[in-house]
Symmetry: C2
Subunit: 108 residues, 2 copies
DNA sequence: GCTTTGGTCAACCATTTGGTTGAATAACGA
DNA sequence: TCGTTATTCAACCAAATGGTTGACCAAAGC
């Protein structure tokens, strides 16, 4: 129970940070590359990444002078689990979830 | 796509508001009753309920002088759908979800 | 009618948030 | 070694957040 829902949901409440997470869904990225599409300073993006890291949504690993960012499943899962507490609501979307998975994930 | 993830996740990031949602999971409640377990003014709770309402997480309906609060599934579902975009992570919990549903929901 | 009950509104306050800039640090490439 | 690239740090700022109090309004109850 080490995941702090306060931090996780607060991190997810910012559109820039959600966009970053979606970018990282495609591939791990360096901080500079994460910042590129945004019209905002590198320092601001660095702060956002710090918030995502503290929330446990991503991990950052420094190799050389480049700091790589990648998604960390566990926090997303923690918040997902909390939402499942609202089973009577989430269950209604199980079919949609299955459809989504079947459609989006290559069946390798 | 009328649901604003900014508002939803910001609303969920506060522990008082999450606690309120969990209370409402059991039953619809009047504002005063929602406030009762918290050590905080009624006005503060009223604000929290306003935030939850604006986020679409609850609906409030006034009957007489009593304002009833109840969960609104749609916003929870909207955020849940966003999380499903992280399918490669959420899928890992499908088994857990099924277990949860099987265990928590009476099979009527 | 009054008084109580249920709830919001307005003004205020301290803290946090999301951004800026400029300087600092660290590692590469020539 | 020197300049460049990658990233953070520190100080600052405006705006938003989460709480308070006291006044206010509307619906019951006596």
């Amino acid at each position: 129970m080490s995941h702090d829902l306060d931090l996780i949901f607060a991190a997810l409440s910012d559109p820039t940070r959600r966009a970053i997470l979606e970018m990282l869904l495609e591939d791990d990225m360096a901080v500079t590359d994460v910042a590129e599409p945004f019209e905002m300073s590198l320092a601001a993006i660095s702060k956002h990444l710090g918030i995502l890291t503290r929330a446990g949504l991503i991990v950052q690993e420094k190799r050389g002078r480049v700091k790589w960012c990648k998604l960390d499943p566990s926090a997303i899962r923690a918040s997902s689990v909390w939402m499942q507490g609202f089973g009577q609501f989430v269950e209604l979307d199980l079919d949609g979830l299955e459809r989504f998975l079947a459609q989006e994930l290559p069946q390798d």
